[in-house]
Symmetry: C2
Subunit: 422 residues, 2 copies
Amino acid sequence: MTDHEKELQKQVFGIAENAVKASRRMAGIDSAYKRETLMKIADRLDKKADDIKFRNEIDLDAAREDSIPEAMINRLILDDGRIKSMTEGIREVASLKDPVGEIIETIDRPNGLKIEKVRVPLGVIGMIYESRPNVTGDAAALCLMSSNVVILRGGSEALNSNLAIGHLIRDVLAETRIPADALQIIDNTDRKIIGYLTTLSGLVDVIIPRGSQEMIRSVSRGSSVPVIGHGKGLCHTYIGAAADKKKAIEISLNAKVQRPGVCNALETLLIHRDAAEEVLPELCEKMEAAGVQLRGDEKTRRIYDMTDASEKDWGTEYLALILSIKIVESTDEAVGHIQHYGSGHSDAIITEDKTDAEKFLNEVDSACVYVNASTRFTDGNQMGLGAEIGISNQKLHARGPMGLKELTSYKYKIKGSGQIRP
Amino acid sequence: MTDHEKELQKQVFGIAENAVKASRRMAGIDSAYKRETLMKIADRLDKKADDIKFRNEIDLDAAREDSIPEAMINRLILDDGRIKSMTEGIREVASLKDPVGEIIETIDRPNGLKIEKVRVPLGVIGMIYESRPNVTGDAAALCLMSSNVVILRGGSEALNSNLAIGHLIRDVLAETRIPADALQIIDNTDRKIIGYLTTLSGLVDVIIPRGSQEMIRSVSRGSSVPVIGHGKGLCHTYIGAAADKKKAIEISLNAKVQRPGVCNALETLLIHRDAAEEVLPELCEKMEAAGVQLRGDEKTRRIYDMTDASEKDWGTEYLALILSIKIVESTDEAVGHIQHYGSGHSDAIITEDKTDAEKFLNEVDSACVYVNASTRFTDGNQMGLGAEIGISNQKLHARGPMGLKELTSYKYKIKGSGQIRP
């Protein structure tokens, strides 16, 4: 390890130590105080929108100079609309139910021990994300409202924007009883930092990476801190033999085109052979009219002319106006396909047959399984769970939308009067 | 990678693939059927106790030949008593509430979507453990009752015993609708196997290592599958200024000597200076009478003669009849010490002062925090949660005793009638 690396490592360790100290002080902060502080943060960010936009311009100029793709530059922009939407998001989080302190379960033991299972914050959260600087505000609000402290490591392309937002929030915190170190932004863009941060088990309680599959994989690999990744969404809609044609077409179209670049959008359409002849022609026409490029298996292409779908297509999350289509012989085949190629995110069946629907709901092992609805509803807000820090497609701890409650753990408080174990 | 390594890796991959297939078939098995199967397993193990003891003798002979320490050999023994206690344990698991299918939450959305958050199995569990072969039966029962499938990797020293139990269970399963591959035992003792097993994310859903800290660390390192470790218990009892002397002595003594070799036993005693003069002499006498070797800080040694405690002592989980003792100036200092040196397992305060008790319960960040009771109660059975596969001291997913409920995840079942996202 070079001197520079040692210095970096020491720096990250210091940040984590400050986070732990701040975390301990969060125990004394009640719900009302947290809400009030979030409202102050939202007001301050609104008031200082011009400063944020000014710092954002520096990132945008650098990005344009580096010929970063237009789509990425778009995600980087902080205009009045986006700042407004970020501060509205923060105010919304302030209005949510505080999960901390909730008594999940009480157990009275025959020996007189009184046990309470109580919800507590996770502690120190390390969040690693890319481009969109508004995530800085969202993540800060969710972590603070759940009495966690957060260490943010955004992408280098958004550093000035992230720091602008982060410093404003820390300035507000410095005026309150919540320690400013409840939010820390790592301002060093060396990628080695991530490696150091993810080995600090004992100080950092969880790492939440949000971004590309590759990024999540690289963060997970070698992490001794538990990781909850928010990654791939290879979502399917299966049109069953007993599907209503109108619903099938409207739902598939919505799932594919309403916002194709997100994780809950449709990527592969499966259709039962008994429904294919009736549904596919109109569905494909409408998809193409909406700008969707179609790729089908052989049977599909016999019904509607399109590009050949290769094995690779079934495993690809396009995040674009591309749809792969496959005709299946049975619901079993559809379920099998989803289990094999899916990402455990969101999958839907379109059917009027209850038995078929139940089979699909039970057998498809995904965070969200739908009957007759668009997979685009997999979202904390849309599902009535409140704002989310991301959507987890792992099964441990948090599955699906990860909101305030999923940012907590629990502890057992056990009150006795001298009980000893016989 | 050598040909031999490739072969091993292929073997582990095959086991995991069989596990996934078995896992899918578990969805169709109801509670009553699982209970009935567990009862059959317990009966068969009782009936074939002689076969198990015979195979166990082979392990014991080899262990004695290898001059394995007596304590380890003791853990390895399967006599009639231990087999009985294992089969009683399996019957007890069969009587527990089945968590699978429980509707945790229902949400009716304004747009008509009906959302059910339903408890589901984790899927494929990889369990890595050492010596005690009765764990094979316990783990099998807990995993099957929660509709999970399990891949067991025990220690090489217990291989014959584990296989004897495992094969009997698989024989019973082969007579039922539960696939025999719901329980697989890795019979290859090459340590590389663990490395291969822990990289099979996508096939294996969670790895549960149970054993020494070193073993858990080595399993976690490099694992791409989430790990829930069941490890260190460096437990404290803090005798506050307002402690009842009798309770303080009885509880500390129980926590230290009732079973010193387990993770919820007392390792470090903290005592407020105002209680020290009155409590320490009698407490120390009784500890020594019970065979406990004492190590104290300077202030403690001024009150009672004992060995000097070094910095290393505060961080050591003795798992033996050794106790370190420290006098503190305040509850804050006690909490600080526990946060710094503790393992987040179980910690107790002895006090008659409610404010002091609440402070301790809120500020000590451990899975189980006690007032006026022995830390030895941290146990699924003792806490009324049912049998446990281990005690987790991490905050993600499962904290404290990990029983049937903690061996589950959840999914969202969402029923619509054509809803699309506007």
